[in-house]
Amino acid sequence: MTFFLKVIIRPTGIVALRALPQSKMRTALRYIPPTTLIGAIAYPLLHLKGSRTETFYNKRNFRSAAENVLRLFNWVTVKIEGKPRLYGSLLKINTIYRGKAQSAVTSFPFAVMYGEADYSITAIYLINEEELSKGPYTLRDIERAAWGMVRIGSRESVISVESVKKGKTEIEEMQETRTAYAFQFKDVEVEGKGTLQSVVDWRSGIGDYSKAKHIIMFYPEGIVTVRGNLKVAKCGEEVIILAS
């Protein structure tokens, strides 16, 4: 049996996630990648133990402190109600370069989750109990940390956690399932609507993404049917597909 946490999140309207690599004109991610979900829970989790470290250095390499809690999770995924819309105002930047006034136009796009309907983000964290037993955290700590998530992504992406439910699940193998949660798009057949998005493979680590591997994730719109050699976990009434 594996513990899971189901976390319901309310955005404050804006989710700013930068797509990598960056060019002069930044692009934003529409959907939330697993690394961001781990980063979001890492901050309050480290806070609980009094750790303020956010970067650790190993000679010339530097990593995010979120890596210290990365192994506590077997898989993290997300379901989004309401389709985020990418938007960015055009910004005029006036600079003086080598004595000459110059003008440039740029934009900082982000995903807007704001409208008449109530947008909501549901994240599921599958907990690796073997890693958890090695300490220093308990399941209760992770649950409290989930209530303390403050941001999804960068800058103005403040969130509030509205509900945290914990439960136990079994990981099963099957050929077909229906899910509303994002999954890795690899050797599967999908029936239904959704968006493919390239994201950093969380197994590459968190922090320095310059050489990180990417995986393709499928973010469903509503519920989709997925076929293939699937590893699934039933979390309450819902099903998630684990990455291969």
Binding site: H47, G50, T53, E54, Y57, Y114, G115, W147
Partner: protein
């Protein structure tokens, strides 16, 4: 200790955050608001203030408060130019020669500037050194129930120049018209402040400063928030477009570990926040909660929160 504040404020005819200047027309910042009509999604653009704009204002107040009690603020931040030790040229003003050890770089910056301690920095050289801001601000967006009543209207203005016939050259105009788009809305935004991060290293997790100075910096961080909200000194064009209105509601929580109030853009945000806070009791965590509404002014609520933090020994 972690402070979270949800603010609702009414702003009529304001030009607090402008973008996209096109010739003589200055647009207000806007965001799309999605509305469903006959089964189809429709986009309505509503005025908004970026978190960056609010964060800039907060840091201006922080610089002023810090200087008023003799705490260090670097030259750039004193001028309200928040470059934040972004490269060697800016860092050299604080420490020269620049050390190679990231811990020493962080220590030098934190010791030299309260703003970079509280507001974070990114030294983008080798080795890169980053410190995440101890405070967070969301966008200020029209509250959802009244978002469709939010407007952004252009206002016509004219600038006059006195030109006599002999000095008139070329096509210099005696009048120049220009437009400023003004927004009117009931806005909501969230502000968080992680007091435990102030004066503490983001690399070693140990304190960089003496306990007394850490407490003094926490106090000015709270005072700056009080000042910013109480004076409505945030956003642009205050000299001629000072918004008509003010704070209508405010909710404040103080918790031992991170916890964020439900965003005030939602109608049930006060009740939701209170119910969610009650869960923290199960974790054996104490908390503080107060609301400013018809019976309590925002300044009273903010003072209660500051008094609670003082009682708890935060400063």
């Amino acid at each position: 200790m972690f402070l979270s504040v949800g603010v609702r404020f009414e702003a009529n005819v304001e030009a607090l955050n402008m973008v996209e200047t096109a010739g003589n027309y200055t647009k207000h910042r806007r965001v799309p608001y999605l509305v469903e009509e006959d089964g189809k999604l429709k986009t309505v653009y509503v005025p908004a203030l970026s978190g960056e704009s609010l964060a800039h204002a907060y840091q201006e107040h922080l610089a002023r408060e810090a200087l008023s009690i003799g705490l260090p603020v670097c030259d750039d931040c004193r001028r309200n130019e928040f470059f934040k030790s972004m490269n060697k040229a800016h860092l050299k003003k604080k420490i020269d020669p620049i050390p190679e050890d990231p811990k020493k770089i962080e220590e030098a910056i934190v010791k030299a500037c309260v703003i970079e301690d509280v507001g974070g920095f990114l030294y983008a050289e080798k080795p890169p050194v980053r410190r995440t801001s101890a405070f967070q601000v969301s966008y200020a967006l029209p509250v959802k129930s009244a978002a469709l009543f939010a407007t952004s209207e252009p206002q016509l203005h004219a600038r006059h120049a006195q030109i006599n016939a002999s000095s008139k050259k070329g096509n210099v105009s005696e009048q120049m018209i220009y437009y400023v788009e003004t927004g009117t809305a009931l806005y909501g935004f969230t502000f968080n402040l992680d007091l435990d991060a102030i004066g503490v290293s983001a690399i070693t997790s140990g304190p960089i400063l003496e306990e007394d100075e850490i407490k003094a910096r926490r106090e000015v961080a709270l005072k700056a928030l009080f000042r910013m909200l109480s004076s409505s000194q945030f956003g642009a064009k205050l000299s001629r477009f000072f918004p008509v209105g003010g704070i209508t509601e405010l909710v404040i929580t103080v918790t031992e570990h991170p916890f964020v109030v439900t965003s005030p853009i939602y109608n049930n945000y006060i009740d939701r926040t209170q119910k969610r806070l009650a869960v923290l009791k199960e974790f054996g965590e104490e908390y503080f909660f107060t609301v400013a509404d018809e019976n309590k002014v925002p300044e009273e609520a903010l003072k209660e929160a500051i008094d609670y933090l003082r009682e708890k020994g935060a400063f």
